[in-house]
Symmetry: C2
């Protein structure tokens, strides 16, 4: 009955959430390769066997831990609502809301892992292209011949914002108000989506 160490019932949603929270922190703190299910289980106060029971292996746990803050089905309607003319600004605002939230630590984990782990890089690239960029550009009715480049340009700006604000923590970017960054970076994303890029 070791799994009840902290008094949580093994089958309860609380337990699952506690494991996911511990996993997000471990992956963000140590990266995908160095985080262990044993340590995650210990941080969540459960038996490692319970982690395996809920999530299978480490890869499945990682995907579960990173799924929420990057769920495009939930986020993109807010970006796309109201047409193409302010999509850039809204995209930066939603991006900051997600990454500034507690679950944003999972996104930092994904970025760290993608840099050091080719499998994660491939996963992130696929996710970005198929789940985020393609959906936005389809909705905005962009010339198909320019979609890939425009999507890639948006990715450069948002990935770099994440790098400087959350990973390298360059002071001026890490400490800036979201509204300051939306005002400065929104027009860039807007131009990459619908403006002149030649």
């Amino acid at each position: 009955m070791n799994a009840r160490r902290t008094g949580r019932r093994p089958g309860s949603p609380d337990t699952r959430e506690a494991i996911l929270a511990a996993a997000r922190e471990a992956f963000a703190e140590r990266g995908y390769d160095a985080a262990s299910i044993r340590a995650i289980a210990a941080a969540a106060g459960v038996d490692p066997a319970l982690v395996h029971h809920y999530f299978g292996g480490k890869e499945e746990l990682f995907r579960a831990a990173t799924a929420f803050p990057a769920d495009p089905g939930r986020l993109l309607p807010a970006v796309l609502a109201g047409g193409p003319d302010a999509a850039g600004e809204r995209m930066v605002r939603v991006f900051l809301e997600v990454w500034d939230s507690p679950t944003g630590t999972a996104a930092v984990a994904l970025l760290r892992s993608a840099v050091s782990n080719e499998w994660t890089a491939r996963l992130l690239r696929e996710f970005l292209v198929t789940q985020v960029l393609r959906r936005v550009l389809d909705q905005l009715d962009i010339d198909p011949g320019q979609r890939a480049l425009r999507g890639g340009l948006v990715a450069t700006q948002l990935a770099g914002l994440a790098m400087m604000r959350y990973v390298l923590r360059l002071d001026a970017v890490a400490a800036a108000e979201p509204a300051t960054l939306v005002a400065a970076i929104g027009p860039t994303v807007q131009r990459y989506l619908t403006g002149d890029i030649t």
Copy 2:
């Protein structure tokens, strides 16, 4: 006399360059933490003791290996020549020239290490702020109250360009001609340096 395995004279500039080239490749391929002096020495065809003799420890070797492609004293005059009005475009062009060159692998190493290693992140941040951004912004005569934010914004765009072109290798960005990226991203950097960001 193991150090003469490949016929290079231990004291020659060739040997030093061979060690640096092997170090750049090892750090880019495996990241700072996983690269070993033993493996670097083997790749360079010299004894590990010779690597220690020339460079001291792994940190010193890393700094020596990453120094060239990011030497601001050599690169920034080209960016700053001709005044502020096209500095953004020139900054992107010089950035791509460095990172597209064979020595750009060292810059990829620095970025990978900065993401997984707090010491390297601090080093890169310090280097970026004091050696690159401060020099550019000083020369361009920017309002001191806006320098840090403007420099940080430039850093987000260039770091993201490096991430997508060289680390995650998002196809549309990795395969793009330098001129295409200079045309698209140059105006962004220019606006961050001297334009309206509010």
